[in-house]
């Protein structure tokens, strides 16, 4: 196997230790850092996401893959930074006001980090003002909101309205997700994207950064 194939396999297998070793060796051997990301890690995360969507992977496998990727990315990020390459983007993630559930949010955060995004985790029970503040002060381009309860989904609507009132709606892409949330609800409240799963959230975030969502 080539180093890139080894890295692909290590990320799929959720083997962080091997992913790091393979990455370090490959960099030493002169494999371009960007190739490791674009041809090894990204396809591996996509494949892990695909397996999750078709019930071959469940949350533990997905988390391990994201962790392996994040761990290998730590070696690569400084090198990419030197070459002037920018991180995938900065995302503020939070569970909306009134809702204290953080498992879904944490899964999305782990997947986003695995995919090279910088995550600003605002925690649970996040008020609209806190999301807005993150966009104002932390150079956040994407806001990802989570809600587990049918009773707290409405906080997503009020948060989006608050962005409008603050005159910031055009400066941020807003993604929503969580068990009771649907595409229809996302459209109704004027969100930019909805995903039913954590891997889907990564695809949305990528689209948002490329300006197609």
């Amino acid at each position: 196997m080539t180093p890139i194939e080894c890295l692909f396999k290590a990320v799929i297998d959720g083997d962080a230790k091997t992913a790091r070793i393979v990455t370090a060796d490959a960099l030493q051997a002169g494999v371009p850092a960007l190739d490791l990301v674009m041809e090894g890690m990204m396809p591996a995360m996509d494949e892990a996401g695909r397996r999750f969507e078709c019930s071959e992977f469940f949350v533990p496998e997905l988390l391990l893959s994201a962790r392996a990727m994040k761990s290998a990315l730590e070696l690569i990020r400084p090198i990419l930074a030197q070459t002037g390459a920018k991180p995938a983007g900065r995302v503020a993630v939070g569970t909306v006001r009134g809702d204290l559930h953080d498992i879904g949010k944490n899964l999305v955060s782990a997947m986003l980090e695995g995919a090279g995004f910088e995550v600003v985790d605002l925690g649970v029970n996040v008020a609209a003002e806190k999301f807005i503040d993150a966009v104002r002060t932390k150079d956040v381009k994407i806001v990802a909101m989570s809600a587990l309860l049918t009773t707290t989904m409405e906080s997503m609507r009020t948060t989006i309205e608050a962005f409008r009132t603050a005159g910031l709606r055009d400066q941020v892409r807003i993604l929503v997700g969580g068990a009771p949330v649907t595409q229809r609800f996302a459209d109704e409240i004027g969100a930019d994207g909805y995903s039913a799963s954590a891997p889907g959230a990564v695809l949305l975030a990528r689209k948002a950064m490329s300006g197609t969502a």
């Binding site: 019930s55 469940f58 949350v59 533990p60 809702d99 204290l100 782990a110 707290t152 989904m153 649907t182």
Partner: protein
């Protein structure tokens, strides 16, 4: 088998209760408000929910203590009220039961994940043990560890519940996978039954996550995987949103139509979860007849 369970099951399958959260909401619990705190602030209304289930024919009722473990209470700033919230929760249900029903106290998940390191196993174990002790002190007849997605967490909670000496029911929620027969963590009914059985649960089962029709195959698989009695608490379908409120599509009669199939699949305890109410219990009771009521 635990003597209390033997006694309960002597006359055949046992009817349990339905949902609590939505019943409390219909009695004024605000959207987003933490239900368990009502054991302290509105004990009369909590008791009214419990009584409605006893009146509908529940022979086992639960308690308003689903979120009463330390990890979850801490999120609501109520960790210092743990003992009181749980003890009173058990006392309220006992009062409502009035000798006509047994009280199996509810212990729900922590809402965090061991695997992501957000909570440690020791912290979790202590948080559940404190809750279990308070529930026992309040006079619970048994404990139901319910809505668990992670077998590791379920096993920790079962151990905590068992330390009280009360009979312990352990249920997981199968809401993932193509056929909705896996937990969030990928656990199958067979794996769940084996783990919970080995952990010493007296009753093994499943609650929440899908409509009642999905519970028939789950019940059959659990039945085949363990000798313990099987506990089923099914949702009234999955919610649809209407004007900011969750609406469940299944009617009490539609729900009750599945009761015979669940009995045939080996269910020993039958009740409802999200979206059900005392009418569902009353409808299910008619299908459980001619089992005598106490």
């Amino acid at each position: 088998m635990h003597p209390l369970l033997e006694q309960l099951l002597a006359d055949g399958p046992v009817l349990t209760d339905g949902a609590w959260g939505t019943e409390l909401q219909s009695r004024g619990l605000a959207i987003g408000e933490f239900p368990d705190s009502w054991n302290l602030t509105h004990p009369d209304r909590v008791e009214a929910v419990a009584r409605a289930y006893v009146d509908a024919g529940s022979r086992v009722i639960l308690t308003n203590t689903f979120g009463g473990n330390r990890v979850r209470l801490a999120l609501h700033g109520l960790a210092d009220r743990l003992e009181e919230i749980n003890r009173r929760g058990a006392e309220i249900s006992r009062r409502a039961a009035g000798g006509h029903a047994r009280v199996f106290a509810s212990m729900g998940p922590s809402g965090t994940m061991l695997m992501t390191g957000d909570v440690g196993a020791d912290e979790l174990a202590e948080g559940f043990a404190e809750q279990a002790r308070a529930l026992a002190a309040g006079g619970a007849d048994g404990i139901v560890v319910e809505t668990m997605s992670d077998p590791e967490e379920a096993v920790i909670a079962v151990a905590a519940a068992r330390s009280t000496g009360l009979p312990v029911v352990a249920c997981m929620v199968f809401d993932s996978g193509r056929d909705h027969d896996r937990t969030l963590m990928g656990t199958t009914p067979e794996q769940a039954a084996a783990r919970l059985d080995a952990a010493g649960a007296d009753v093994v089962g499943t609650n929440c996550g899908q409509g009642i029709e999905g519970f028939v195959p789950l019940c059959r698989r659990l039945r085949a995987a363990t000798d313990r009695p099987i506990w089923i608490k099914a949702n009234a379908g999955l919610p649809r949103m209407h004007g900011g409120r969750a609406v469940y599509g299944t009617t009490p009669e539609m729900f009750a139509d599945h009761v015979p199939a669940l009995l045939a699949a080996g269910a020993a305890f039958i009740g409802g979860c999200c979206g059900t109410n005392p009418e569902f219990v009353a409808a299910a009771r008619r299908r459980l007849a001619p089992n005598p009521l106490p």
